[in-house]
C-alpha cells in the first residue's frame, strides 16, 4: 500500500502528533470494554463467595510468571521507544522483536495453563467463575496477539528507519495490555 498522507494527518492543532492522540482515544475505548467486563465480574464475585474455591484451582505460579514476562516485555518496549527517539531504527526494532517474544512466551505459558485446566474439567462451561476466567483472559490474550502482530509490522518498518513515531504508539498500547493483566492477575488468580 502506498503511504498516503493527507494534509489533515500532518496537522497538529492540539500540539500532539495525530497518531499519539488517536492511540490515547483507542485506549479510552479499550478501558471501558475491559472496565465493563471486570466490573461485571467483580459484582458477580461479591455475590458469589463460593467462586473463591473455584479460583483456588488456578495456577498462581504460572500466572505470576506471566506477569513477570509481560512486565519485562514492556521494559523492552520502553527501551525501543528510547532508541527510536534517538533515531536508531535498527536498535528500536531489535527491542520490539524482544517484546514480541515476550508476548509469545506469555501466550505459550497461557496455553499450557489452559490445557491443564481443561483436562481437569474446568472448561468454560464449568460455571460462572470459569465463564469469566476464560472470557476475560481470552479477550486479553486476543489483545496480546493483536499487539504482537502490529508490533511485528512496526518493527519491520522501524528496521528500515521508517515511521519511527509508531514505535512509541505501539508501546503505549502494549503498556495498556500490560496494565489490564495487572488487574486480571489478582482478580482471577490471587483472590481466593
Amino acid at each position: 500500500l502506498s503511504t498516503t498522507r493527507t494534509i489533515a494527518t500532518q496537522r497538529s492543532a492540539m500540539g500532539l502528533p495525530t497518531g499519539r492522540l488517536a492511540i490515547w482515544w483507542v485506549l479510552v475505548s479499550e478501558i471501558v470494554i475491559f472496565g465493563g467486563l471486570l466490573m461485571s465480574y467483580v459484582m458477580h464475585r461479591i455475590g458469589h463467595p463460593e467462586w473463591g474455591a473455584e479460583a483456588a484451582h488456578t495456577n498462581t505460579w504460572l500466572g505470576a510468571t506471566n506477569t513477570l514476562v509481560l512486565l519485562t516485555s514492556s521494559l523492552s518496549a520502553v527501551l525501543g521507544h528510547q532508541a527510536a527517539e534517538q533515531g536508531n531504527g535498527k536498535k528500536a526494532a531489535r527491542y520490539l522483536y524482544f517484546t514480541f517474544l515476550g508476548g509469545l512466551t506469555f501466550l505459550i505459558i497461557k496455553s499450557f495453563e489452559w490445557t491443564a485446566e481443561i483436562r481437569e474439567g474446568f472448561t468454560i462451561q464449568a460455571g460462572g467463575f470459569w465463564s469469566f476466567y476464560y472470557t476475560a483472559a481470552g479477550l486479553h490474550a486476543f489483545h496480546v496477539l493483536c499487539g504482537m502482530l502490529i508490533m511485528l509490522w512496526v518493527a519491520n518498518s522501524a528496521r528500515k528507519n521508517q515511521d519511527l513515531h509508531r514505535v512509541e504508539n505501539i508501546g503505549i498500547y502494549w503498556h495498556f495490555v500490560d496494565i489490564v493483566w495487572i488487574f486480571l492477575f489478582p482478580l482471577l488468580y490471587i483472590a481466593k
Binding site: 500500500l1 502506498s2 503511504t3 498516503t4 498522507r5 493527507t6 494534509i7 489533515a8 494527518t9 500532518q10 496537522r11 497538529s12 492543532a13 492540539m14 500540539g15 500532539l16 495525530t18 492522540l21 488517536a22 482515544w25 483507542v26 479510552v28 475505548s29 479499550e30 478501558i31 471501558v32 470494554i33 475491559f34 472496565g35 465493563g36 467486563l37 466490573m39 461485571s40 459484582m43 458477580h44 455475590g47 458469589h48 468454560i124 462451561q125 460455571g127 460462572g128 465463564s131 469469566f132 476464560y134 472470557t135 479477550l139
Partner: protein, 579 residues
C-alpha cells in the same frame, strides 16, 4: 497560535496527493474502495437509506398486523407470531444501529468534518474506509439473518436474556447469534469511525480556526463520538458474553446456570441511554446550522450551548436504570435515577430555548431545510415532555411496556433520525451533488411526512394510556383485553403510516432527478458562513486547491456595519465586501 501551524495552507494542495489519484481511478476504486471522506459519507448515507426502506417495510407489515390481525398483509402474506417478533426486533435494531447511526454520525460526520474545519480529508482515510467496510459487513449479516432457518432474531432490540441467550426460548438459534455478531461489528465500525472524527476535529483544524470557531455540528458529532466510545465498551464485552452464552454454554446471563439476566440490562442500558444522546447530538447540530442560516442570525449563546451539550453528555451516563424500573431494581435506586432523569430534561429544555431565542427577531426564510429544522424543534419537544412522565418511577410502573413508551421514543427518534436527516440532506444537497433540489417537491414531501407522522404516534399515546401492551401480537386473542373501542385508533395509526410511506417516493425521485439534472448550484447558495461553502459544489478530491484560512466564528450574520448580512469565516477582516 495560528502561526505555529504548518504552512501547508499557503501552497496548492496537490503536492501531497501522490497516492490520491485524480481522475484516472476506475469505478471500483472511485466508488467502492475510495478513501475520500465524501465518498465514504455517501456510502454510509446510501447504505443507511437502503436499510431505512427495509425498516420502514417492516413497520408497515407489523402495523398492518396490529390493525387487522390475522389478515394477509399485501406484499408480505400472513404474519406468524415468530415473523412478528423478528419484524419488530429488526425494525428497532435497523432504525437505530443501521439508519440513525450511519446517516447522522457517519454520513454527515464524514461529509462535514473535513469540509467545515478546512481539511482535505480525515486524518486516517484508510481506517475510515475500513470502518465503512466493517459496517457494511454488519449490515449484510443482519439482513442475512432474516433469511436463515427459523428466521431472524425475535427477542426485541434490547435482546434481554434469558430469552436472547437460550435457544429453546427464542427458537432462533442461528438468527440470534447473527444478530449479536452484527451489532458487535457495527460497534467496532463506529469506534474506528469515531476515533477518526475526534482526532480529525481536534488536530486538523485549518489555520486560524480555534476550537470555539468550529460550527456547532462539529462539536456535537465529536461529543457524540466520545459518548459512544465511553459507553459502548461494556456492551461490546456484554455482547461477547451473550454470544458465548448462546454458542459455548457459558453462564453469564442464564439464571438456570447461575447467571444474572439483570447484568445484561445494566450493560445494555449503560450504553443504550447515552446512545439516545449519541444520535440526538448530531441531529441538534444539523438543526443549529440550518436555523442560523435561514434566520440570518447568530446562534444564541454559542459557548453555553457547547457546555450544555458536554454537561448533558456526562449526565446521560447516570440515567440508564430508568429503563429498569420494573426489572426488580431497588426502589431507592429507582428514586435516584428518577432524579437524574428529570434533571437531564433541564439542559435539553435549555437547548430548545436557545433555538427559539436564535429564531427570535431573525429574518426567517421558510425554505424546506428550515421547515424540517422547525419541525424538529416542535416534534422533539413532544418526545421530550412525554419522557418526563416515563422518567418518574411511579408513573413508569403503569406506563412501562405500553404503547405510550413506543409513542414517546418515536417522538424522539423520528425527529432525530428522519426529520433532522431530511433537514441536513435538503440543506447540504447543493454541496454534495452540485445541484439544487426541487423546492416544491421538497415541500410536498415535508407536509406529507410530518402530518402522517403525528397521525401515527398521537393515537399510540392514547392507546398506551389506555393500557395497550406493546408486546402483544394479536389483541383478538385476548378478548378481555381487546378494547374494541380502541380499534379506530389502531387503524388510524396504520393508515397514517401507509400515507407517510406513500409520500416517500416523492423524495427519492426528487433526490435522484435533482442530482442528475437539477439546477446547477453555486458555491454558496444559502449565503452561509461556514467553510464548506467556500469549496466548489461538489468539492473535488482534496476539497480545496488552497486550504482556506479561518478568521472568525461560524455565525456572524447581520453584523452591524457590514452591508452584507453574512460574513464567511474565510474572509480576511480587511477584505472588501465584493467577492
Amino acid at each position: 497560535m495560528a502561526d505555529a501551524l504548518p504552512q501547508e495552507a499557503h501552497v496548492p494542495a496537490h503536492g501531497h496527493a501522490a497516492g490520491h489519484g485524480h481522475g484516472e481511478q476506475n469505478f471500483f476504486m472511485k466508488y467502492l474502495w475510495s478513501t475520500d471522506h465524501k465518498m465514504i459519507a455517501f456510502q454510509y448515507m446510501f447504505t443507511g437509506m437502503a436499510l431505512a426502506m427495509i425498516g420502514a417495510f417492516m413497520a408497515y407489515v407489523f402495523r398492518m398486523q396490529l390493525a387487522f390481525p390475522g389478515h394477509s398483509v399485501p406484499g408480505y402474506g400472513v404474519v406468524t407470531p415468530n415473523n412478528y417478533n423478528a419484524l419488530i426486533t429488526n425494525h428497532g435494531s435497523i432504525m437505530i444501529f443501521w439508519v440513525a447511526m450511519p446517516v447522522l454520525i457517519a454520513g454527515f460526520g464524514n461529509f462535514l468534518i473535513p469540509l467545515m474545519i478546512g481539511a482535505d480529508d480525515m486524518v486516517f482515510p484508510r481506517i475510515n474506509r475500513l470502518s465503512y467496510q466493517i459496517f457494511l459487513l454488519s449490515a449484510l449479516i443482519l439482513v442475512a439473518s432474516l433469511f436463515v432457518q427459523n428466521g431472524g432474531f425475535g427477542g426485541a432490540w434490547t435482546a434481554y436474556p434469558p430469552l436472547s441467550a437460550v435457544q429453546r426460548y427464542n427458537l432462533t438459534p442461528i438468527g440470534a447469534s447473527m444478530w449479536v455478531i452484527a451489532v458487535a461489528l457495527e460497534f467496532v465500525a463506529f469506534l474506528l469511525g469515531g476515533i477518526n472524527f475526534i482526532v480529525t476535529s481536534m488536530n486538523s483544524r485549518t489555520r486560524g480556526m480555534k476550537a470555539f470557531d468550529t460550527p456547532i455540528v462539529i462539536w456535537t458529532i465529536v461529543i457524540a463520538s466520545i459518548l459512544f466510545m465511553a459507553s459502548v465498551g461494556p456492551l461490546i464485552a456484554g455482547a461477547v458474553m451473550l454470544l458465548f452464552d448462546q454458542l459455548l454454554g457459558t453462564s453469564f446471563y442464564d439464571p438456570n446456570r447461575g447467571g444474572d439476566p439483570i447484568l445484561w440490562q445494566h450493560l445494555f442500558w449503560f450504553f443504550g441511554h447515552p446512545e439516545v444522546y449519541v444520535v440526538l447530538f448530531p441531529a441538534v447540530g444539523i438543526v443549529a446550522e440550518v436555523i442560523t442560516v435561514f434566520a440570518r442570525k447568530k446562534l444564541f449563546a454559542y459557548k453555553t450551548v457547547i457546555y450544555t451539550f458536554i454537561g448533558t453528555g456526562i449526565l446521560s451516563f447516570f440515567v440508564w436504570a430508568h429503563h429498569q424500573f420494573v426489572a426488580g431494581i431497588d426502589p431507592r435506586m429507582a428514586n435516584v435515577f428518577t432524579v437524574t432523569t428529570v434533571l437531564i430534561s433541564i439542559p435539553i429544555a435549555e437547548m430548545m430555548f436557545v433555538y427559539i431565542a436564535t429564531l427570535y427577531g431573525g429574518s426567517i426564510t421558510l425554505a424546506s431545510p428550515m421547515l424540517w429544522a422547525l419541525a424538529f424543534i416542535g416534534e422533539f419537544l413532544i418526545g421530550g415532555v412525554t419522557g418526563i412522565y416515563l422518567g418518574a418511577s411511579g408513573l413508569d410502573i403503569y406506563f412501562h411496556d405500553t404503547y405510550f413508551v413506543v409513542a414517546h421514543f418515536h417522538y424522539t427518534f423520528f425527529p432525530i433520525a428522519i426529520i433532522a436527516t431530511f433537514a441536513g440532506i435538503t440543506f447540504w444537497f447543493p454541496k454534495m451533488f452540485g445541484r439544487m433540489m426541487n423546492e416544491t417537491a421538497n415541500k410536498i414531501h415535508f407536509w406529507g411526512t410530518i402530518i402522517p407522522f403525528n397521525g401515527i404516534f398521537i393515537p399510540l399515546f392514547f392507546l398506551g394510556a389506555a393500557g395497550e401492551h406493546r408486546r402483544i401480537f394479536d389483541y383478538s386473542s385476548f378478548p378481555h383485553l381487546a378494547t374494541p373501542e380502541l380499534q379506530a385508533l389502531r387503524i388510524t395509526a396504520t393508515v397514517s403510516l401507509i400515507v407517510m410511506l406513500l409520500f416517500q417516493p416523492i423524495f427519492i425521485i426528487n433526490f435522484i432527478m435533482s442530482a442528475i439534472r437539477g439546477k446547477k448550484a453555486e458555491k454558496n447558495p444559502w449565503k452561509s458562513n461556514t467553510l464548506e461553502w467556500t469549496a466548489d459544489s461538489p468539492p473535488p478530491h482534496g476539497n480545496w486547491a488552497e486550504m482556506p484560512v479561518c478568521y472568525r466564528g461560524p455565525y456572524e450574520y447581520h453584523v452591524p456595519g457590514r452591508a452584507e448580512d453574512y460574513w464567511p469565516q474565510n474572509l480576511p477582516p480587511d477584505a472588501q465586501e465584493a467577492h
